[in-house]
Amino acid sequence: MDLNFTPEEIAFRDEVRNFLRAKLPPEISHKVHGGKRLEKEDFVRWQKILHAKGWGAASWPANHGGTGWTAVQQHIFDEECADAGAPMQLPFGLRMVAPVIMAFGNAMQQARFLPRIVDGTDWWCQGYSEPGSGSDLASLKTRAVRNGDHYVVNGQKTWNTLGQYADWIFCLVRTSSEGRQQEGISFLLIDMKTPGITVRPIIMMDGEHEINEVWFEDVRVPVENLIGEENKGWTYAKFLLGHERTGIAGVGRSKRELKKLKAIARRESSAGRPLIEDQRFRDRIAQVELELMALEITNLRVISAEGEKKRAPGPEASILKIKGSEIQQLLTELQMQALGHYALPYLHESLDPDWSGDPAMPAYEDDAGPLSGHYFNVRKTTIYGGSNEIQKNIISQMILGL
């Protein structure tokens, strides 16, 4: 039992740090640290920089173009990237569809899709939820009917993140209504340029366009884009969700946001003293830091156990999802609360990268603008990826056998 990094791990951390110092564009990290809006170009540019170094897919095995890193190396990489203000690598290609293609796709699909994910060519999005199928995902109704060497897809997907930029969408579709509803689902890869696909924005509480509805009207998908076997999609879907949850703990990002919270609490004042000297507020920061310290170690325990067993993430990942999402919410809530009066103004332009305060509002710091919006935005974290209530169902059924 040893919580310290080995000399090799420390050398690796230094290598990552040096790389970030040299290669992470300051105009991107400025946006991340300031909570500004990230554009598609920012995500793609960073993915291409990582790929050029051979670090495009930290969690993939080397034979598929990944780094082949240990769990601890991946953790170090995540943490250093977050601390330096690198954009999060979007999970839809790297952490969601790619593991499914590796595990269940055929050689042709692997050769066609995986290199274009890791090098940043293809932007993937998710077609899981439907208006009538949220937590009860297996009740989904989007139909795919086999017609010669194509499927014809009709239906509607929702809660699609950043699909307005996507080249590809992975979809759960109904190919049979026989038997249990889980038994009639298939996993299809669909080119977003196919005629019949319509993307409609859903504007979220923070005023941002992050989420979409996607409509399918007689969309013709070649059968070669079916993953695995027809009607076995539910197995692949659950496998994907397990992978989604591990990345979701977000320890590195939360450590960065905790640092930011402390900086704000030192800067803001309360009754003429720095806010951090207010014991009630300081204790709230301390409490969320305790939660994060515990989560960091639990996360390491889970990923190192998985690394040894060489298996897909198990139901323990649900613990990480629940705690990680709660902590992200607490941190944004405290950042907002720390602003006091200046949590109220809604200056949407403050999300623009070149916005640096308003001379008519000198007390309004240039990073204050996004904070309340972040609080409203991250209410999503306890809902997405399987709501936290669904995670507790998973724990009680899969771990505890209730």
Binding site: M1, L3, I276, Q287, A294, T298, L402
Partner: protein, 374 residues
């Protein structure tokens, strides 16, 4: 970085698990709580055979050179077994103090005797008015008679009735000093009582207790850092004990959810109860992570880092313990509030851990105040 126990550690864990399953059942423990000693002297002798009484001591003094991780592992098993034996005060706390601060002669005289099970020690430090603050000592040490005369009162000294010797803190001028005091010393009196968790403790009075120069442990007037270190060590151990209890409570509660039927089904089929149980499991896993952090940092020579981590761990573990303990009772319904199931006994021990060597507020405050340093 790795989270594995060594083969030796796993073997020790198995030994203790078997001991509690075979020789230290619920009825046996209940009988022991009502005995004169309030614990099982036979079990103590067995602990000596297992070597756990020697675990944290150096080899030169009959010890096994164990780390704080070893202590964590033992404490977790003692928690599971709901041990009444004074392992924490005698071996971890006082034994640890002698190991870290005692003279060669003191180590020679005390550690082999503790390791062999012949001698038990108790830590007479806290006082009624000082609550958990470690520097609040009113007991006075007055030089004289070739040593010191001690006057004062000590509150709720754990395992005092069975102690052969006490480590007593006292103020001399501006500083604190530690003294070794025989249980039979003239002027020392005990008011003994059982504690809520079935163990034993006492309030001590010291009326002109004379000790010699050889009784001083560590530097005169410079004992506070030693006390801080020893109490940190004890708190790391208590975190592990609490985790052992929480794991045991989760097991018995889960079993109850699967077997107790109402409305024609096992009550574990009800989602409200499933989610409560999931919360208990999450709290326990998170607490285990923090107890691990505490154990790893307990051996650290960086006092600030050690204190900060252990304060964090204790504050966190106690919050988890409160949730798990209270909900284990709640999920057992009426049976949970009786004396007849081990649930209530686990809950009482867990609750008393929450009030020993600093409560949640005390430790959260300690951790929180470190945020003031930029």
């Amino acid at each position: 970085m790795n989270f594995d126990y060594t083969e030796e550690q796993i073997a020790l864990q198995d030994t203790l698990r078997r001991f509690y399953a075979r020789d230290y059942g619920f009825e046996h423990r209940r009988a022991m709580t009502k005995s004169a000693d309030g614990f099982d002297r036979g079990a103590w002798a067995t602990f000596a055979e297992f070597g756990i009484l020697a675990l944290p001591f150096p080899e030169d003094f009959g010890g096994l050179n164990g780390t704080a991780i070893d202590t964590m592992l033992v404490m977790e098993m003692l928690g599971r077994g709901l041990a009444l034996e004074p392992y924490l005060p005698s071996v971890v706390l006082c034994g640890g103090l002698i190991r870290d601060a005692g003279s060669a002669a003191q180590k020679e005289a005390l550690l082999p005797a503790v390791a062999g099970g012949e001698l038990m020690l108790a830590f007479a430090h806290f006082e009624a008015g000082g609550r958990y603050a470690l520097d609040q000592v009113a007991t006075k040490a007055t030089p004289g008679g070739g040593g010191w005369k001690l006057d004062g009162a000590k509150a709720v000294v754990l395992a005092a009735p069975s102690a052969g010797k006490f480590i007593v803190s006292a103020r001399e001028g501006l500083g604190l000093s530690l003294f070794l005091v025989d249980a039979g010393a003239p002027g020392l009196s005990l008011r003994s009582y059982p504690t809520q968790d079935g163990a034993r403790a006492a309030d001590l009075r010291l009326d002109g207790v004379q000790v010699g120069a050889e009784a001083l442990i560590g530097p005169a007037g410079g004992a506070l850092p030693l006390i801080e270190r020893a109490v940190d060590y004890a708190n790391a151990a208590l975190c592990a004990e609490a985790v052992g209890i929480m794991a045991a409570l989760n097991e018995v509660t889960l079993e109850y959810l699967k077997t107790r039927k109402q409305f024609g089904v096992p009550i574990g089929k009800f989602q409200a109860l499933q989610h409560r149980m999931a919360d208990m499991v999450i709290a326990t896993e998170q607490a285990r992570s923090m107890a691990t952090l505490a154990a790893v940092r307990a051996d650290s020579d960086d006092a600030a880092e050690r204190s900060r981590s252990i304060a964090a761990a204790k504050a966190y573990v106690l919050q988890s313990a409160r949730l798990v303990g209270q909900q284990a009772v709640q999920l057992h319904g009426g049976m949970g509030v009786t004396d007849e199931l081990n649930v209530g006994h686990y809950f009482k021990r867990l609750t008393m851990i929450g009030l020993s060597f600093g409560d949640v507020d005390y430790h959260l405050g300690r951790f929180s105040d470190t945020l003031l340093a930029a």
